[in-house]
Symmetry: C2
Subunit: 404 residues, 2 copies
């Protein structure tokens, strides 16, 4: 036997476990005991994947499931160009690199623009996996807080500018944002564009929730004037076609050096999933009213979720304008303890609710300890049941653990 | 317009373009002109993907294509355990992390065991994308040459040991090897295992060509005694089930810290492709004679390819024992120029041959300039045609450019 036990890397140790997923073993445990778990922790829509997607897969014509093009299936890229056109985003096929999910688009973008130890500015709270991608790429996320009180909109330009250093390579945001649902306004997007131009930075925009907007309009980074070579769009079909299990996304940029680099990264992993790309081509032909019906349904869910949350004594949240999440403050000292307790010690009529603890959505230590992200991805009826359980849970937890 | 043009990262610039794929635009160009291209450049088998895989996909039962488990579909993991058992490799479900292709298994392994600037020893020539993964992970591959003259087997233990420094975290090899087809012997594997134990290293073994063996037997890293916590197996279904477009692989380790870290990496990208995992479950039930028939077919191809290569004046190569590649020396000064010339300036009866230039399979500068990797993934008849074209091409190229 070896004298020493082999050790994993420092970055491997530091890699955060997903705050959205790390409580799953607890959920699995109680499910075995027959307890129903309402999953408000994960952005997994319950909407059926379009039949156009499923039929395409069932009719996959090739006998040999061969490697695809590293840039992506050319028919998929063409479908994406047409989809973007319908969204008033005008790009050419050469501007698009198909990626294995939006996740890969983000990690590719980070590696494309920054070297080890360099910095990308983000706005807290943000999508938790940005932290993991930054650890994988060994770069630093420099967080700038946004506040619930003003709907998690961007702070003053000067506050952002102060965080820009010689190591800063880009500014990253998601619009609509995950976990806050905030839709950034055109003036906000322009502010970031100006900063990118002034300080020689890239502007990275994660727009996977483009169609999930209930108030206001969507502004894409690709339509910011004067930063055509600094704009990088990160995208995914997961949410808009309820096809999260198909790992298909893309990175879009008019900067040829960026797409050339992304293609080299793409070549290293050979290709994105061929069959799921084929399915995506089927879905991308769907007309606009597909999204309108879906946004309508999610608006009802948002209204239900927000109304029910506001009824819980001590809970505070803003009504978000987009995506399908609400970031809410809870009357607890340690949201992670509460989230665990809901799974291991609480149930109501044989059911409980799983939420995503807030700290995972921050890079700053100690932030988000009384917040949780609620994904309103259940139908209105189930959502009401889940929120009733959550309300009762808060009530009982406060009794046991004391008010915060 | 900005005063400065935004720059990509240094590592992005340094990332090598795939030597296997970067000549594809040239091939596409001549295909448009009606020239047929025999692809000996890429390890894309022409064998049909098993109907068991395709039928599973066609019968995918879920209405919502939801996120899967980050560790992998539990049924797929169980099928893998049973597959390994048939190969006399005994592992538990918790030892397996499903990855998005063998590519992701390799990059996960590198990040799991090494920090920025640390080292992994490899044997040249090696699978070209190890270079790309190392650039993404920002680690250094320390190459040790192997020689055609002794079938690219490992050099003396002392030569390997000399390359181990305080920064070394692991030794990586592929058996059977890509691009050399070398099957490492049990004593060779034991030598690496001993070094791993003595110097506190991980032993990473890429075994995606396990079934493609024509002489000798396969020795898995998982069966090396005394290094149970140092052995990391990298695997993929791409080659053995002719399903390269399905991005399904795995990382296997009995070291819990390694699989825990790999799972965190897995959580960051949410899940591997759900539908293609479902297909893989179908394929993994295939009996052993599926592989025997396939190995038989590839043995015929190897014999043809080797015999034809040996007929070309000035070409030298060993007959490999495994995989489906031959690394061959050509009578040219600059193999990349020759490979390009074959695509842009040469054809015979309306067809030409594409090969993978050697330098991409080395980390040492200047190596492999007269070598190419030939993938014998075509049926015997096509292979003969392709080799005839290659022979004529060498003859004519020598006349034009002069002998080396």
């Amino acid at each position: 036997m070896p004298l020493t036990k082999p050790k994993v890397s420092k970055r491997g140790k530091e890699m955060p476990a997903s705050p959205i997923r790390k409580l799953i073993p607890l959920a699995d445990e109680i499910k075995k005991k027959g307890v129903k778990v309402y999953h408000l922790n994960i952005g997994q829509p319950d909407i059926p994947t379009p039949v156009e997607f499923m039929n395409a897969i069932r009719n996959y014509p090739n006998k040999v499931l061969a490697y695809g093009n590293s840039k992506g299936d050319i028919r998929l890229i063409q479908s994406m160009v047409e989809y973007y056109e319908r969204k008033n985003i005008f790009v050419q096929p050469e501007n698009i690199q198909i990626t294995t999910g939006g996740s890969e688009a983000l990690i590719f973008a980070m590696i494309c623009i920054s070297d080890v130890g360099e910095e990308i500015i983000v706005f807290e709270p943000f999508y938790t996996n940005y932290n993991s991608f930054a650890r994988m790429a060994d770069i630093n996320l420099v967080p700038i807080p946004t506040k619930a009180e003003n709907g998690y909109h961007l702070p003053d330009k000067k506050i952002i500018e102060k965080k820009i250093t010689s190591k800063t390579r880009g500014i990253l945001l998601a619009t609509p944002n995950n976990p806050t649902g905030t839709v950034f306004t055109k003036p906000e997007m322009e502010t970031i564009a100006e900063l990118a131009k002034k300080h020689d930075l890239f502007f990275l925009s994660d727009e996977v929730y483009r169609e999930f907007i209930y108030e206001g309009v969507h502004t894409s980074v690709m339509n910011m004037e004067g930063i055509e070579d600094r704009a990088i769009l990160l995208d995914s079909i997961s949410k808009r076609y309820s096809a999260c299990g198909a790992r298909i996304g893309c990175l879009v940029s008019k900067n040829k050096e960026v797409t050339d680099t992304a293609l080299k990264l793409g070549q290293s992993r050979l290709c994105s999933p061929s069959i799921e790309q084929y399915g995506a081509i089927g879905a991308l032909g769907l007309p606009e009213d597909y999204f309108l019906a879906m946004a309508d349904e999610y608006k009802r869910r948002r209204d239900t979720c927000h109304a029910e949350l506001m009824k819980i004594p001590g809970v505070f949240c803003q009504k978000p304008s987009g995506a399908f999440y609400i970031m809410a403050k809870f009357p607890v000292m340690d949201i992670e303890d509460f989230a665990r307790w809901m799974l291991s010690d609480f149930s109501l009529d044989g059911a409980t609710t799983m939420i995503a603890p807030g700290p995972g959505f921050y890079a700053s230590k100690g932030m988000g300890k009384d917040e949780a992200r609620i994904a309103y991805v259940l139908n209105v009826e189930d959502l009401k049941k889940a929120m009733r359980i959550l309300a009762k849970g808060v009530e009982q937890y406060k009794k046991i653990k004391g008010k915060s």
